[in-house]
């Protein structure tokens, strides 16, 4: 039987990036994915007749420029759209426009404009420092080895270099909530909410949840990685998967799609390989899983194959998501009041004020639907007409908050889905009257749908909540940090490992570097 250096489970962006870096270093790598296409959550799907949508992730805002270059993704077909402005829709029709450092519209005050620049500058400093930590494995505090101490040293130095005020602020801010910080800095409710949206996106937290400044800085790392605002991927998000796949193949990575790994095979205290849904078993020195930690340990390895304390940590790892999506196929361009036709291609958000966001979170804690949602809307067919028949459009929106566990259950619960759909459309109509009449097809996606379609526990954006207790040197949980745990030869490389989720690629790259550094492969 052929023996691989590494079998990577999951051909999502992190799995492919890990594979590519391992193969670049001359290793024999196989990547396997249960789905028929590569990209994982970076996927495009045909929707209604002649429409295509990014059916999971919709924006690029975090992708590492360096990885794009090193893996020649542009040569392999990756094309990012323009950097988009954020238009925060206000019920008055006088919208707030956020473009990098500058704000306009919505009667925004000079004081807010100034404060916004200062706030961003500070956040950029923090994000830059955070990026230092993101570019390498997170150092262990206890049992730190030489490499870890260097990271800590450079971090400490970085903190000091920020100056006393920044340093003090970072220590204070990182654990508190975005709600208080917004109120400290700004006057305009719409502005506060627009910023808070970036802090809560992909989490199960509200603006008043502790930790939401940390998640905001996480998002800001995207800028430090070379992104400006958000962009769409031409051809739909699946094209990112396609480019990564093509690049990986060029590096010599073997790929098997449409075959699920059913089991990670462990003999003694080490992994031997994997078993596939076809019944095939494949051997490898290392098994590198980009599947979320819960699935990896609970379902693929099995609790009975790890120590009980570790199993307990997996059980306690929080994976509940509050993120859903709305997908619409439209017979024409909708008209958002106060938005020029050209600007409909920008990022449109509906987040009137932070209190409404927080109120929207409350019902989902109890498994109920909320009637106040936060929308992050993309109409990608304007910039990329290939996504819809001529003159027609697709609209996708990230929607918060949608309960992962509905009291009445999501399974076959058409009435709850219909209720959610109607509620979302009613809220959209306030800003885009008449949008209902354009709808050719519609779909709501709740967290557990992403669990079913993309194999992500809890449908969680980050493969597990990105909160301080599950981040950095604790990601995903103690005993499984630095991309490996107690099972010899088993590595994690997905969003559930440091530095976490979004289309970024650092988890995949760092993991590959760590494996190579350990020198365990042939």
């Amino acid at each position: 039987m052929t023996k691989y250096d590494a079998i990577v489970i999951g051909a999502g962006h992190n799995g492919l990036i890990s594979s590519s870096y391992l193969a670049k270093a001359g290793k024999r790598v196989l990547v396997v994915d249960a789905l028929n296409q590569a990209g994982g959550c970076a996927s495009t799907k045909a929707f209604a007749n002649g429409f295509h949508i990014s059916d999971c992730a919709q924006w690029v805002h975090q992708l590492d420029e360096k990885i794009v270059k090193e893996l020649s993704l542009e040569m392999h077909g990756l094309r990012l759209g323009e950097a988009k402005r954020t238009i925060a829709l206000q019920s008055s029709g006088d919208h707030l426009i956020v473009d990098g450092d500058s704000l306009s519209g919505a009667g925004i005050s000079a004081a807010d404009k100034k404060a916004y620049k200062a706030f961003r500058r500070q956040m950029q400093v923090f994000a830059k420092l955070m990026l230092k930590l993101y570019r390498t494995r997170a150092p262990k505090m206890v049992d730190a080895d030489w490499g870890d101490r260097m990271t800590l040293l450079s971090l400490g130095l970085g903190l000091k270099m920020m100056g006393r005020r920044n340093m003090r602020d970072m220590m204070r801010l990182v654990l508190i909530n975005i709600y208080d910080v917004m109120n400290e800095h700004f006057e305009h409710d719409g502005l506060k909410a627009a910023i808070a949206l970036d802090a809560i996106t992909g989490t199960n937290m509200g603006p008043r949840s502790p930790n939401t400044v940390f998640t905001y800085i996480h998002r800001m790392v995207g800028e430090a990685l070379g992104n400006r605002g958000v962009s769409q991927v031409m051809g739909g998000m699946g094209s990112l998967g396609g480019a990564l796949l093509s690049s990986a193949k060029t590096q010599g990575v073997e790929v098997r799609l449409g075959e699920a790994v059913t089991r990670i095979i462990k003999t003694g205290d080490r992994v031997m390989g994997v078993e596939l849904s076809s019944g095939d078993t494949l051997e490898a020195i290392a098994v590198v899983s980009s599947v979320d930690p819960t699935r990896t340990y609970r379902d693929l390895l099995g609790y009975r194959n790890i120590e009980a304390g570790q199993a307990r940590r997996v059980e306690q790892y929080r994976t509940r998501s509050g993120t859903g999506k709305l997908h619409l196929a439209l017979s024409g361009l909708p008209s958002f009041v106060g938005v020029s036709p050209d600007d409909h291609s920008q990022r449109l958000i509906i987040a009137p004020c932070m209190d409404a966001m927080e109120a929207g979170l409350n019902p989902i804690k109890y498994g109920e639907l909320t009637s106040q949602h936060v929308f992050d809307i993309s109409i990608p067919s304007i910039e990329d007409p290939t996504l819809a028949p001529a003159g027609q459009h697709v609209l996708t929106a990230l929607v918060h908050y949608v309960p992962h566990e509905l009291k009445t259950g999501w399974d076959n619960n058409e009435s709850a889905r219909e209720q959610l759909l109607q509620s979302l459309l009613a809220q959209l109509e306030v800003y885009a009257p008449g949008i209902r009449e354009l709808i050719i097809a519609s779909e709501v996606r709740v967290p557990e749908d992403f669990e079913a379609s993309h194999g992500v526990t809890g449908g969680n954006w980050h493969h597990g909540e990105l909160s301080i207790d599950q981040a950095l040197m604790m990601r995903p949980f103690p005993g499984s940090t630095q991309y490996t745990g107690s099972v010899v030869g088993l590595y994690l490389c997905g969003a559930g490992s440091h530095p976490g989720g979004s289309l970024m690629g650092l988890a995949g790259k760092n993991a590959a570097e760590e494996i190579l550094k350990q020198g365990v492969l042939s």
Binding site: K266, G302, R304, E307, A308, G309, R312, G479, S486
Partner: protein
């Protein structure tokens, strides 16, 4: 009920009405939430009952967990450090268990009652830990601590007395074996196990029969000088027999607060309990690492000069403190002043000599004694009758 009416906030065992009646000294102690006698009438005479006739100890406060289901064996095998597959049906095995850090949590006994059916007896409450351990296993775990009354009957005439109350053929039961008998229409389970290092049995029965069992034992055993024994007498017997005690000789990991206070089984002289051939058990990775990197401590049996028990003594080597005593007693049968101690590595090889700093008081006067002591290979009390089958008749 007011506290005064309740008399005590402690729990009582199914034997309490009898225990209370026999506890002439009214010297009560605390055992995991239960009130049990430290001594009944005379600690030394109780000890001598264990060694020369039969002593009866109320074991009921012991935590008892029933583990049932197709994965019961696999579950236990991941839980404890030893190989559970080697405990046959109707056999009992001593076992210790660790957390993921390899830190000792507790020790106890595993009773293999039937296929896919075990009972785990532990010193600590283990409900949470067992529940956590059950993830991924097809097992059910029931805390049956209150559903079973248990007595230890230990000593040279224990078999004879138990035979008189209806345990026909008990003398054929091998050490660590389990046998079942009828007692007034209910099943009475008897295991040849105990904590005294002597011929002895533990008797397990429905609480409704607790009083009847006690009465019959003391009735049939009167001529054989059967005596109830308290925890103080047991303490001496177990030291003599070389048995360590959770929460005395080591701090169970669950309740240790200060860093560095826990010990691994390797550091407690329990390496014989750790089966590294098993590919997985809780703490394995940490213990493999410790085995490679070396131990911090060694658990030793000390023979201390003189007759003053070296209780809580510091242990010195060349004037430097290198250890502490965790249990100590003058052991009458072994005619030795014994102590268990934790000493820092590399000290503690058999034959190593130290000094124990012993304080004792006579009429308000404290005296400090620097007693030479020596690491010995134990246990000192190890009579053939402990192992003989059939058990010798008296």
């Amino acid at each position: 009920m007011s506290a005064a009416e309740r008399k005590t906030m402690l729990l009582t065992t199914p034997f309490h009405s009898r225990v209370e009646q026999y506890c002439e000294l009214n010297d009560w102690g605390l055992w995991q939430g239960y009130t049990t006698p430290n001594s009944y009438f005379d600690m030394e005479l109780e000890y001598f009952a264990i060694r020369s006739t039969a002593g009866v100890l109320d074991l009921s406060p012991m935590n008892k967990y029933r583990i049932l289901g197709p994965d019961a064996e696999a579950f236990l095998n991941r839980l404890v450090t030893r190989d559970v597959t080697k405990i046959g049906v109707d056999r009992v095995g001593y076992a210790v268990w660790c957390n993921d850090g390899g830190e000792l949590m507790d020790d106890g006994t595993i009773f293999h009652l039937a296929e896919d059916d075990y009972r785990l007896c532990s010193y600590m409450r283990a409900d949470d830990w067992l529940e956590w351990n059950a993830s991924g296993f097809d097992v059910t775990i029931n805390n049956e601590s209150d559903d079973i009354a248990a007595l230890a009957v230990q000593g040279p005439v224990s078999c004879t007395i138990l035979t008189l109350i209806g345990c026909e053929g008990l003398n054929e039961l091998k050490p660590f074996g389990i046998a079942r008998f009828d007692f007034e229409g209910v099943e009475m389970m008897v295991s040849r196990t105990g904590f005294t290092g002597d011929l002895g049995y533990e008797v397990w029965i429905d609480p409704s029969k607790a009083n009847a069992l006690w009465d019959q034992l003391f009735d049939k055993g009167r001529d054989y000088l059967i005596k109830p024994i308290g925890s103080h007498a047991l303490h001496v017997a177990r030291i003599e027999a070389g048995f360590l005690q959770a929460n005395v000789d080591f701090v169970p990991a669950e309740i240790a607060v200060r860093p560095g206070r826990t010990r691994t089984p390797l550091e407690m002289g329990l390496d014989w309990q750790v089966d590294f051939n098993k590919s997985l058990f809780n703490g394995r990775a940490a213990l493999v690492k410790q085995r490679e990197e070396g131990l911090r401590y060694r658990f030793v049996l000390l023979d201390v000069e003189g007759n003053k028990p070296a209780e809580h003594s510091f242990i010195y080597k060349n004037g430097k403190q290198i250890g502490i005593v965790t249990s100590a007693a003058w052991c009458p049968t072994a005619k030795s002043n014994l102590a268990f101690a934790q000493v820092e590595m590399p000290h503690g090889a058999v034959g190593d000599e130290f000094v124990a700093e012993i304080y004792y008081q006579r009429e308000l006067q404290w005296t400090r004694l620097m007693a030479p002591c020596k690491v010995i290979d134990g246990p000192l009390f190890n009579p053939p009758r402990k192992r003989q089958t059939p058990a010798p008749a008296h």
